[in-house]
């Protein structure tokens, strides 16, 4: 640590190799600091991504060491024509993401507004909502699997107490995806609460106070004062959560296993691509799906940030 520091005045120091090196290092510190991380990112992210793009143009499958042939756009054509697995997976990815993120935003905004003004016991509420957030997703998946078990789960027990018929929850073909959206909402609404709360506490109270004096009711103050001021925070929350929701894998795979269940009922693009790669070793098609998935994420993120600039 001290080795790189020339703490003495340069007048007494003889220009040795070390001081020359130190001077060189300090002059080039910008790239010296950034280079290791950049090299890591280049070797482990950019190169693999380029390789995935290349694999998507080949018929690579089976063993990792097997020969593969260049097939051009054939994989893409095959994937686009695939109405059995690919397009339903795209649709499920959209449903899951919009369903989860929209619910989380509404609930998160409500809870954040309730937590906004300080009160007694606020600390405990904050600790409580932090717990789902840090819980291991796989363990969360297993936990809900027990609660939503059709025969022994607490969810159906609760329904029977209030006289409702029991539900198949995770094992039903049409109930599995909504149930998993619920699990995602349970785990990630706290994240939205924390982000929005950070945004709310950074607002000054004057606009809200001014609107109150002008006679605006609570809803009007929220709709026309707080929400516009909170706009950029809301967008940050949607972007951050949206990226993660699109890529959700852990709870889907932990609760439904390979292929998103026997009818592929929760198979999103990420689960589909993972299955193609590591359950079927169909690397060529898997890479095609992944490249399309990646482009889709970028397009959605670009749209959100583009709209934001246009609105300003």
């Amino acid at each position: 640590m001290t080795a790189t520091v020339t703490s003495r005045p340069p007048a007494t120091a003889e220009p040795t190799a070390w001081t020359a090196y130190s001077r060189w290092a300090n002059r080039h510190r910008k790239w010296l600091f950034a280079a290791p991380a950049m090299i890591f990112v280049g070797l482990l992210i950019v190169v693999p991504l380029a390789w995935t793009a290349y694999l998507s143009l080949t018929d690579a499958q089976g063993s990792v060491r097997a020969e593969s042939e260049f097939v051009g756009m054939a994989n893409y054509l095959q994937v686009f024509r695939d109405t059995e697995r690919f397009w339903p997976a795209v649709w499920r990815t959209f449903t899951f993401t919009t369903g989860a993120v929209a619910t989380e935003m509404v609930l998160g905004m409500g809870i954040a507004l309730l937590l906004w003004r300080p009160f007694k016991g606020e600390k405990w509420v904050r600790v409580a909502i932090l717990m789902p957030l840090v819980a291991t997703p796989v363990a969360v998946g297993m936990m809900w699997r027990l609660i939503f078990d059709p025969n022994i789960g607490f969810a159906n027990q609760l329904l029977s107490w209030v006289g409702l018929p029991s539900q198949p929850w995770l094992s039903g073909q049409h109930t599995a995806l909504p149930t998993l959206i619920f699990v995602d909402v349970w785990q990630w609404t706290p994240m939205i609460v924390l982000i929005l709360l950070a945004g709310l506490t950074s607002l000054s109270e004057e606009p809200d106070e001014a609107a109150r004096i002008d006679g605006a009711n609570a809803w009007q103050r929220f709709r026309f004062v707080t929400l516009p001021l909170l706009r950029s925070t809301v967008i940050v929350a949607i972007v951050l959560r949206g990226i993660d929701a699109l890529k959700t894998f852990d709870i889907l795979y932990a609760t439904k296993g390979k292929g998103g269940g026997s009818f592929h009922e929760v198979e999103t693009l990420n689960v589909y691509a993972f299955g193609l790669s590591f359950d079927y070793n169909d690397y060529g098609i898997a890479s095609t799906v992944l490249i399309l998935f990646f482009l889709l994420i970028i397009a959605i993120m670009w749209m959100i940030t583009y709209r934001r600039k246009g609105d300003r």
Binding site: L133, M143, A286
Partner: protein, 306 residues
Amino acid sequence: MTDSVTNLADLTSDAISTTAGTNQSGPERTLPRRRRRKPRAYRIFRVVILTLTVLLFIAPLVWMLVASFKTNVDIYDSTKTFFFTPTLDNYANVLGRNNYFSFIFNSFWVAFCSTVLSLILGVPAAYAMSRFSMNRSAMVVLMARIIPGVSLLVPWYFIFANLRLVGGFSVLVLSHMFVALPLIVYLMMSFFDSLPTELEDAAQVDGLTPIGAFLRITLPLSVPGLATAGILSFIFSWNNFMFALVLSGANTKTLPVAIFNFVSYASIDWGSLMSAAVIVTVPIMVIALFTQKYVVSGLTAGATKG
């Protein structure tokens, strides 16, 4: 024309009557009363809703904890939902027979190594990117937050399988750094952006080299930021499932993979599964409890910048 005039007259008379109305009751009397009444109803509403919220977020976790102390017979018995004799058999089974101590160590070791290495690589990079506003380089690093992890897993699997490294710790650490490094760069960049440069400048005037000023002045001032980045990256690595699922071997299995493997058999041993789930979540919750401030500031970083 006449319509608009009458409308205008109506409006004015309305306005006058409203003003008259307020004048009659007197603003000094209505305003304080309204202020007192509204918050009380709101306060009760708020307490009820927040209590429900806390219950909804905590109850499933409590349920998991309760089930981990039940025998499988009790779990299947709906009359013993709340009243049962607690047992530690599940924990004994998981820790003793299924060798969970080694999985705990694997998870810890991988999370620790990937966090430390990512800090060593990421902090200087974040500093350079913040101070020299290298926005394009930062974009490349932050791109990693968007890329789906599976798209890297295939090439990694190709490369590492050919190097015969799959199943070793080094591959796991490298793959977890893919999550940790961009996170650390992102968090530390916003931290360095908010850190004033005056102290570094003063240190350089007093004879420190720029690198010396970074090591001796900036880094000690960055301890809260480093704690935030380190804790969050540890949590994400501990919770990571997908990379270890593909890249870990029998000896390097991490806890989430071990839990997942529990259910690949025909019947599920619910009691042991829940105790395994408790074992993986409780350490991370305890860490989050004691470092709450840092965890929250890390999760909300960038929220107020716009």
